[in-house]
Symmetry: C2
Subunit: 340 residues, 2 copies
């Protein structure tokens, strides 16, 4: 057990707690910092982080979707599977020192508007604590891609390459409408004392936006089952199970504030001055490829855009490990060459 406290002029992160020796293969910590939340003013928050891999390797921040957390992959010290392990090939991580955080707001204790720039400020505070001046790369997926874009805008000197998968510079108005209705469903459940069911339904609605008709057409029957005088569609049980599991581990406040955070995300493409690799999925109904094309056209640095096909739509970032591994091999090699 060791504790480190580093001060910077703008922010004053203080380390609450660190688990894991400096010599172990991974460490976790909690850092309190006063974040100047863009829409809610200064708030003291506790940022939970994990770092994995030896200090001499290139440092990468790996940031996932809104339901991801600081535990990216298993290590000797923290042996449970991480979210990247769950989605496929995590071997590329072994060649890097990996930093990640639990999203600010994900524990449900902060009931205020949070945006992606606030998450970027939290990541910067953790880098201060860890003594990391600059990241060799950020690999961000979905919400993590938006946070990566925000970080590249607010801290351009602290990252050398950005890989943003299935994220754009702004939310699409149709996707925003979809999320707004999910938040209203949560509110209906909350006001009426059935928070779990409201959360479950909101998550199920979100699932539809993450997936595609192509997947559902191949996976589920068109004929419903009549059960107790009502029809149950073929996908209902699967959706309900996913919704209930999710509601059990998530607070309504966390869901609403992180969902809202996506809608508050807004950066100017030209303010991104870091070499960037963008990945879009042609079938993504949440982050349309056209929005990522517009972002690519506006970035003020070398940019490479890859548009991939997947029946999984937005969730391809989780469900297409081979394609993602290929993108990362190319992007991070390029980054490492640039840094060599």
């Amino acid at each position: 057990m060791s504790a480190v406290a580093i001060r910077t002029p703008q922010q004053t992160p203080s380390v609450l707690r660190v688990v894991g020796e400096r010599t172990s293969d991974a460490r976790r910590g909690e850092t309190t910092v006063v974040l100047p939340l863009r829409h809610a003013g200064p708030h003291e928050v506790c940022v939970r982080w994990e770092v994995r891999g030896p200090a001499h390797l290139p440092v990468v921040a790996v940031l996932g979707g809104i339901s991801a957390n600081r535990h990216v992959a298993a290590s000797r010290t923290f042996a449970e599977r991480g979210w990247w392990d769950a989605q496929g090939d995590a071997r590329w991580l072994a060649a890097h020192r990996v930093v990640s955080i639990d999203w600010v707001g994900s524990d449900g204790t902060l009931d205020a508007p949070i945006d992606t720039a606030d998450q970027a400020a939290a990541l910067a505070a953790v880098l201060d604590v860890l003594g990391i001046d600059a990241l060799d790369a950020i690999v961000g997926c979905s919400y993590g891609a938006m946070v990566g874009l925000a970080f590249a805008t607010t801290h351009p000197a602290r990252v050398r390459h950005l890989v943003a998968i299935a994220g754009a510079h702004r939310p699409h108005p149709f996707a925003s409408a979809w999320r707004a209705l999910q938040r209203n469903v949560v509110a209906l459940g909350q006001l009426q004392c059935d928070e779990a069911q409201g959360l479950s339904l909101a998550r199920q609605l979100a699932m539809l936006s993450y997936r595609t008709p192509e997947e559902f057409g191949a996976r589920f029957d068109a004929t419903p089952i009549l059960d107790g005088g009502s029809a149950r569609c073929a996908s209902e049980a699967w959706l309900a199970e996913r919704g209930a599991a999710w509601a059990q581990k998530t607070s309504a406040t966390a869901f609403v504030r992180l969902s809202e955070s996506i809608d508050l995300h807004e950066i100017l493409p030209s303010s991104v001055r870091v070499p960037t690799t963008l990945v879009a999925f042609a079938e993504d109904r949440l982050v349309p490829p056209d929005d990522i094309r517009a972002l690519a056209a506006g970035i003020s640095a070398p940019v490479r855009l890859q548009v991939l096909h997947s029946p999984y739509g937005h969730d391809a970032f989780l469900k297409e490990p081979d394609a993602i591994a290929h993108v990362l091999a190319r992007a991070l090699d390029c980054c490492e060459e640039a840094c060599a």
Copy 2:
């Protein structure tokens, strides 16, 4: 005021009430009939109908979406705008005798599974009452297209041409999932004593499935407004207004049973032995053009398929009056020639 009662061997429709003289330009009536509901067994239901135009003109049943009713267009007798008037050019109706019905279940008094074949049986019972042996055509949009397809299957001798706009032989599993979640949102509202809000949210979710990202992208801003510590997306007020207006005029039972009815819709394309014109919208996210193509390929009669483009997606059947008028001019001319 006049009353007519006609008996047929299978069904025994009895006329409850007729409004309007035989000599007036339009009449309305209510007919009780025992319908052998496909999933719920025999039920006595009251079918409300309207007929408009003189008896010597070609007879067309005009059937709209689940929120449509028997009042297709204004007449001298019933001067309020009908749902076809609201969507555009209703001049073609003047050349026809027009029959329509309120959907069985739309008044919320029948809490049992209803399907499109049951609606077709209700239409047939009304034709018995009106002394109409066979329709020159059915023009059905969305749910009305499904009912038209069911009628062509169960009563092939009673219709000479079918125009089915934005409807297929079965629901798509993704659209079914979307509807199932809407019904679950209604149930959340009902159980928790906020039926109006549950219905409103369900309708708003349905609206998203009727429209497209293209329309929302052109119509609404990406930046939300922060209002009392929460973000409100640009489309939220518009959606909420539509949802509330709809909840005010619809019962939860009607919504749930008609929504379910779409999921219970299932016909064998080869069982359609009536000349058919099909219209699909390329951007329709609820009834994908590929499903309508599969239907076209299977129909056992001359079939013409037109795929049209519209930023309104599924709602193009309401929002593209010129394109629809063009389709009808061609389809009904052809039908009238065939009948001449």
